[in-house]
Amino acid sequence: MPRSLVWLLSLGLFGVLAVLPLVAGDYWLHTAILCLFYVMMAASWNLLAGYTGQVSFSHAAFAGIGAYVSGMCAIYFHLPPLLGALVGMAVAAVLGLLLGVLCIRMGGIYLSLTTLAFSEMLRIVIDNEYEITRGTMGLSVPFVLPFYSKAWAFYLMGAVTLGLLYVIHRIIRSDLGTAFRAVQNDETAAASLGIHVVKIRVAAFVISSTMAGLAGALYGHYHQLITPEILSLNLMFLVLAMTIIGGLGTFAGPVVGAVFLEVLSEYIRIYGEFHVLIFGLVALFISRFAPEGLVGLWRKRFPTLDAQR
């Protein structure tokens, strides 16, 4: 895309974000905040899956870790939520490092299996440790800001999301991002050029998991109720479907996919729980016939816009 168009689009996006709380009702503001959460989740999962080719199934689990740790810090140690969110992030980072070191040296399949087992195991622990986590009843936690205001929560989440996207963009364009793609495309060639494949993979996993921890912590404090639902495979699937439908391995893909699916699911909510089934079928179709998702289709349709990139 031409530079000027990128600036124009970014400006428009900022404008929409700034004005939205003033014009949208409570319901759509809530939807917009959910969108921001999903954008953070999908974009950080894409950094791992789309750029290093590692499929983690514990992204929702790390969001859960962030949410629960931050929530428990607020309840048991009376930390302010934003500080708690940092603690949640840190715990997610440490657990991500441990899990990554444990299984990444064995290759991609092991990461997928272990992360899946890890997230189920975590759900079992949270369900069982009722005294601390309130089990399936859910943990009531304080609001993310000292005063209750959806509009300000939206601005906060919006600012964090933009910050996160900026960081991801910088990583993709940096040497680290190049190393990510090198590891994805040809492990042996990357190693022969002096890239420490396992270290790069673990780094990507830790960065991505930490971001999920932050997103989860903010989401939990916005919702004020944290349930084991956040670690469920359903949420994991939604994040995965958003990235796939938007476009795996593209910067804009997860953003487009997250907003698209979240808004769509609000419209088809009246038909009950079928939206997961429908998203699943769409995601299956897209990953089979258009592996680059909506963004890839757009690029095919308007190749000239991308020519100057």
């Binding site: 399949i109 997928s112 069982n128 359903n234 699943g280 079928l281 995601a283």
Partner: protein, 287 residues
């Protein structure tokens, strides 16, 4: 002491069952390097089919079971042809696609069969007095024997027949096998479907004991994955040993530590294996 023996017996029996339900995953990963995340869903599907055929159509139990396994085998062929074949050479996409498939199937079952557990009729009734110590359900013993028989048949098929030879050749060296005239695409299709049929066999054998519901599949898949990693990716012998080991550990753990944490022990074993011996008990070293 009696209790201990009971838990041990239970663990051994369940272990054979775990081995049976993990063999399908192990077979597919050994030959195609694809993890079938929809494994548990195929197990559940066969459970539903056998219940449906036996109750609604009134078919005799063995016919209902055979029909269920046959249908899942055909379903497996279709999955391989339409979803897996285009992903050859890209392990990541096959992971993603089978994961999406598993979620789609779970939600489809919820829609079609409802959330309530369903179970096919028992083959046998009553119980047997084991070792003069405790009573054990006959259905469990029958399922155990059937499971052991299926495992034995699979080993015969892989180790003794011409088809087995082709499968092993492809697993060892795909290019070399193609060069000497093995149609590796067809071997892939058949072995994927065979892996699905093994999941289905486990499903029809176990559904009388553990009724199936749409989300039962997650636990089954996870147990299978733990067994496969424990035994060593792609090793069928490892799968049997790993299954029995896991069954015993889980049952003793559930009995003496906490039953809520039954599946937690599986994860613990997984972590232990990955730390101490990542290639598993019988794993190929070079992975």
């Amino acid at each position: 002491m009696d209790d201990f023996l009971l838990y041990l017996t239970n663990g051994l029996l369940l272990g054979v069952i775990y081995a049976l339900s993990a063999l399908g995953v192990s077979l597919i990963v050994g030959i195609m390097n694809v993890i079938n995340f929809a494994h548990g869903e195929l197990y559940v599907l066969a459970g539903y089919f056998s219940a449906l055929f036996a109750h609604a159509l009134g078919l005799p139990i063995p016919v209902a079971m055979a029909l269920a396994v046959g249908l899942v085998f055909v379903f497996g062929l279709l999955i391989e042809r339409t979803l897996i074949q285009p992903t050859y050479g890209n392990d990541m996409y096959s992971l993603i696609i089978t994961f999406i498939l598993s979620i789609v199937l779970q939600n489809a079952y919820l829609f079609i069969f409802g959330p309530y557990p369903q179970k096919p009729p028992n083959w046998v009734t009553g119980s047997t007095h084991l070792f003069g110590l405790f009573y054990y359900g006959n259905q469990r013993l029958a399922s155990f024997l059937a499971g052991a028989a299926v495992i034995a048949l699979l080993f015969l098929l892989i180790k003794k027949t011409w088809f087995g030879k082709m499968v092993r050749a492809v697993a060892q060296d795909r290019e070399m096998a193609s060069m000497v005239g093995v149609n590796s695409t067809r071997v892939n299709m058949l072995s994927f479907a065979l892996g699905c049929a093994l999941a289905a066999a486990a499903g029809v054998i176990l559904a009388p004991i553990f009724p199936v519901n749409p989300t039962a599949s997650v636990g089954i898949s996870l147990t299978a994955f733990v067994v496969v990693v424990l035994g060593g990716m792609g090793s069928l012998e490892g799968c049997v040993v790993g299954g029995i080991l896991l069954g015993v550990v889980q049952n003793l753990g559930a009995a003496y530590v906490s039953s809520g944490y039954k599946h937690f022990f599986g994860f613990l074993i997984l972590v232990l294996v990955l730390t101490v011996r990542p290639s598993g008990l019988f794993g190929r070293k070079e992975i």
